[in-house]
């Protein structure tokens, strides 16, 4: 099952055009999901690629950001795959996906988005849903691709903080009085 995880957050930072670069893929079963303007691969160690693909879509339904690239949601799957090194977790996740497929009468991923959400919502109390949600609320928002997308700037120490980089650059609100907000040194 050992696969090389071809993954580096920095490699996927956008180049200024909004296009993600690099490669991130589901290598098990050689699944690659087309991302915006590129393809990427995520190597899975424990989960099979069908489960991985379904979990990515589950994460998308739980935290839907329409213009956030699949590559970011793939980071959730990567962390779920890591947790699935524990066979009990792996079984729980694949059982949860199998349940969705049963509910869909075949392949949940082939249902319409609306039907997928309806079927998923009906299983929102289940352990797979809880695991994906609990993982995604951290993984989805704790990476530089997401920070770029949402406009968050991340670490500032190496750049000298914001004292000379716009910490008081709002021009559309009135300037506070000097007694309320003294000038910087």
């Amino acid at each position: 099952m050992q696969q090389t995880v071809v993954f580096s957050r920095r490699k996927f930072l956008k180049t200024g055009t909004g296009v993600l670069v690099g490669s991130l893929a589901f290598s098990l079963g050689s699944v690659s999901t087309p991302a915006v303007g590129d393809t990427w691969k995520l190597s899975l160690e424990s989960l099979d690629s069908d489960t991985g693909k379904a979990l990515l879509k589950v994460a998308r339904h739980i935290f839907p950001h329409d213009t956030l690239d699949d590559a970011v949601y793939a980071l959730v799957v990567k962390d779920l795959d890591g947790a699935a090194a524990d066979a009990a977790v792996a079984g729980m996740l694949s059982d949860g996906v199998a349940q969705l497929n049963d509910d869909a009468g075949g392949n949940w991923l082939e249902a319409s988005d609306e039907d997928q959400l309806k079927l998923l919502t009906a299983r929102a109390d289940g352990p797979m849903f809880g695991k994906v949600k609990g993982t995604a609320v951290v993984s989805l928002y704790n990476n530089e691709m997401a920070w770029e997308h949402f406009g968050y700037e991340g670490a500032s120490f190496d750049k000298g903080g914001y004292i000379n980089r716009g910490f008081q650059d709002l021009e559309w609100l009135p300037q506070p009085s000097e007694s309320a907000s003294p000038p910087k040194a």
Binding site: V138, Y141, N142, A155, G161, F167, Q168, A180, A185
Partner: protein, 522 residues
């Protein structure tokens, strides 16, 4: 660093190196008193701090097993994380925002001012503002609090500008960049704030006061300090005379040692301090140490809190600059026409994207949640912090079955809001939302309380021994050479961020301990 022998029974042992313990240890060392400072966490530094919310959370937080009960939402969303406090040298002074406010005169007299309130165990403190004023002055100087001692206020960031615009429109009169223990100018060998925006993650500039790089090195320079990091205290021990005489602790490798002591001062924060006293039960003290009143662990307070984040139609980028960048103090008065006793402060706060996802609406999912997250860079935010009612049923107790790595029962934190807390929060949510709507926000979000950062009152100070755990010096009523040296002492919570008061009490307590030692009464 001094080396104090385990069998040296002339030393003072201080447990915990945060605002209370770190300050107390330094004050004692300055007076020539040999002090062993035991800290459960490890030593970090401005170099090892990281500008990364989750990484810093893992580096600094107290993550040992705890359980929760009661109707507070934290028990559901974060059942094993009742408090967001630290296990590291410097304690939660590595993580705190820096707000340094004095408790108001009337708040020391909570029972007299508010009167009896059903379900609340209000008491007057055995001290008043005048007792503490000289020590507040010393603490403000030590900590370099802005707008005291001629130190200018910090420059306000974008998040402050949003608060200020709304506050002004609403007619609030007291809105400014706060009294902060963050250098606005270089002072006492520490540089000034560079507006990094990572106050909660350990200040990499060292501009924010923390015992880690102020009190503790100052104490060390006296040659009287023996700091032991990675020392998890398990139990206090006593002699046949009932006096405490030693502290059992486990080092980072799990080896247990017994440090003899002349005096013991407990400053483990309001969860660990009562837990330690309860875990130190003996045949003489069957209900735990210093607990003849039955009040150890009771009256746990966490401040009435909540947050309001608001979305504007343009970027605010609230994360740029100090995390707590400004304050409105107008609502901190006691004015029952608002429908509750006591008051609250409104203080700007920002969370990075990772923590916003975790705390905006814990457990939520779907489009309503992501719609709000999509507004992240347009958000301004404030924290609401006010006096909560002490209640005997809100308490730290020992878990019946869960044990830590050393076999000691873990603490359970029980908390339920008092109706006064709920009424105050509703008012604060409304006013906080009004501030941002007045400034032109398109929508305001009410965010529930985070895991507790202000943990108070579980070994409260009282005039009479039957009513509390310690006297006005923090000396336990039952055991003369055992002191409570952290926020556990608070008789009531007051509206203000507690660190300045904890530091002031520690400076004052050091004077008293030195006096009693000189008199040989302890």
């Amino acid at each position: 660093m001094a080396t104090i022998d385990l069998n040296d029974d002339s030393a003072v042992v201080v447990i915990g190196s945060g605002a209370g313990g770190g300050t107390l240890a330094n004050e004692l060392c300055q007076k020539g008193i040999k002090t062993v400072l035991l800290e459960a966490g490890s030593m970090e530094s401005t170099e090892s701090f990281v500008n990364d919310e989750w990484a810093a959370f893992g580096q600094l937080s107290w993550l040992d097993m705890r359980t929760t009960s009661g109707d507070w939402r934290v028990a559901k969303d974060f059942p094993n994380l009742p408090a967001w406090i630290c296990k590291t040298v410097g304690g939660s002074t590595t993580h705190w925002a820096g707000a340094s406010l004095r408790i108001q005169e009337h708040e020391f007299k909570a029972l007299t001012t508010y009167g009896e309130i059903e379900g609340a165990t209000l008491m007057d403190w055995p001290i008043g503002l005048s007792d503490l004023e000289p020590y507040y002055a010393k603490a403000e100087d030590k900590m370099g609090v802005t707008r005291t001692n001629g130190i200018p206020g910090l420059p306000g960031n974008n998040n402050f500008m949003a608060m200020y615009a709304g506050a002004t429109k609403l007619g609030y009169e007291n809105c400014h960049t706060g009294n902060m223990a963050i250098n606005s100018r270089p002072r006492n060998g520490r540089t000034s704030c560079q507006q990094l925006g990572f106050c909660f993650q350990g200040c990499k500039m060292g501009a924010k006061w923390s015992t880690l790089y102020t009190e503790i090195p100052d104490a060390d320079a006296t040659g009287n300090l023996d700091l032991r990091a990675g020392a998890q205290v398990l139990q206090l021990q006593h002699g046949d005379d009932g006096k405490v005489n030693g502290v059992l602790y486990a080092d980072k490798d799990g080896n247990q040692s017994l440090q003899k002591a002349r005096v013991v001062c407990v400053a483990g924060n309001s969860i660990e301090t009562p837990r330690l006293l309860l875990n130190s039960a003996s045949s003489m003290y069957s209900d735990g140490m210093a607990n003849s009143s039955g009040q150890v662990g009771k009256n746990y307070m966490r401040h009435m809190t909540g947050s309001v984040y608001a979305a504007f139609d343009k970027p605010v980028r609230m994360w740029r600059g100090t995390t707590m960048a400004g304050i409105i103090t107008d609502e901190s008065k006691h004015d029952t026409s608002r429908g509750f006793a006591g008051g609250y402060e409104m203080e700007t706060l920002s969370l990075g994207l990772p923590f916003m996802a975790a705390f905006l609406d814990p457990g939520a999912w779907g489009r309503d949640f992501t719609r709000k997250m999509d507004e992240y860079q347009n958000m301004a935010g404030m924290w609401l912090v006010g006096e909560d009612m002490p209640q005997e049923s809100n308490a730290i107790t020992l878990h019946e079955s869960e044990k830590d790595a050393f076999g000691m029962p873990v603490p359970n934190v029980e908390f339920s809001d008092h109706p006064n807390d709920i009424a105050m929060r509703e008012h604060a949510f409304t006013q906080g939302s009004e501030v941002y709507m007045a400034a032109g926000a398109k929508e305001a979000y009410r965010v529930p309380p985070y895991p507790s950062t202000h943990n108070l009152g579980t070994c409260r100070m009282s005039e009479k021994a039957a009513d509390g755990v310690c006297n006005k010096w923090g000396q336990t009523h039952d055991i003369a050479n055992l002191f409570i040296s952290d926020g556990s002492q608070f008789t009531t919570g007051a509206a203000e961020n507690p660190t300045l008061t904890i530091v002031s009490l520690a400076i004052r307590q050091a004077d008293q301990i030195a006096k009693l030692m000189t008199e040989k009464s302890i």
